[in-house]
Symmetry: C2
Amino acid sequence: MHKIKLLDDCIHELARLPGVGRKTAARLAMHILKMKPEDVHRLADRLTAFKDNTVFCSVCGGLSEGETCPICMDTYREPHVLCVVEEAKDIFIIEQTSYYKGRYHVLGGKISPLDGIGPDNLRIAELLDRVQAEGVTEVILATNPDVDGETTAIYLTRRLKSIADSAVKVTKLASGIPLGTHIEYADEMTVLRALESRREI
Amino acid sequence: MHKIKLLDDCIHELARLPGVGRKTAARLAMHILKMKPEDVHRLADRLTAFKDNTVFCSVCGGLSEGETCPICMDTYREPHVLCVVEEAKDIFIIEQTSYYKGRYHVLGGKISPLDGIGPDNLRIAELLDRVQAEGVTEVILATNPDVDGETTAIYLTRRLKSIADSAVKVTKLASGIPLGTHIEYADEMTVLRALESRREI
């Protein structure tokens, strides 16, 4: 059986990406063969430029091209509201709504005893420091609504409430039926949460 | 709404790949951020090395790192049997079986009037030349079993049979129930073909 080493190398590297199996990698490789050379080079350049030049913001832990990210440097953003997210990528989803005007704090994960991740492995001490130093009045917890995320939210609430001389308000993203779907397709835990959190209209 | 330009550029390029939407591209980008720098550079290098150094074999039209591909150069391969495939990538699937010992001929597509692809747009003249020049005794048609692929197979059979002084045998890959599946999940055309092509055991 004959192989083309360049193709094999290309497929091998692509297949290491998450969600990309060997079949998909082979399909992508054949597509790359049909692309214009300049397009392939631009793709490769942008992958490495992104990897080499992106760092984590020293304040919030979000993605940044410099020491401090544009959100932390933006003086128009509300400085007394912090939104706590698990990962840097979650910031982009919230930013897309154009609703939130406060700042962020990235935990770098969630408390997950099974994976050996405890409070000390997350940026929780930094969060408590910021809340005190920046005079934060509201912390919005935007951890994911799964077991570990909820555990993390409960833990953070307790820690935030225990800060001496602090009257910080702790809130959490609402859970419920996602828009654009049907109730019949929602799982019962989501429906239960939506019922509990029903509001008068 | 704040954006990181490097991230945006990276997502934009990834989202141009087939089967990769913006959500998948964002997920891949976040994965790239977690990868080791040397792994990202190797991925980028292999994409461009594959693109820049892979050409099509001047004989069979398959992928090659040089003027002639390893299969066409391999003197141990049966020179009188040609397997006709639509695309260069189809060669790899057939090679994986380690069963076929002949050579290949890539058409570069299939006859598709709706897409404006006629016989003159494919490497059919080259195929007929090779059959005569190389003294080919059997041509195996491995076009896809869809409407255009079958049309192409019928057309090729007629052209191959009409070569003067030639007694070339033309065969076609068998169609039938794929292994490992259940008959109940096969479509009726496949079952019909499997019944027609039934063989005594």
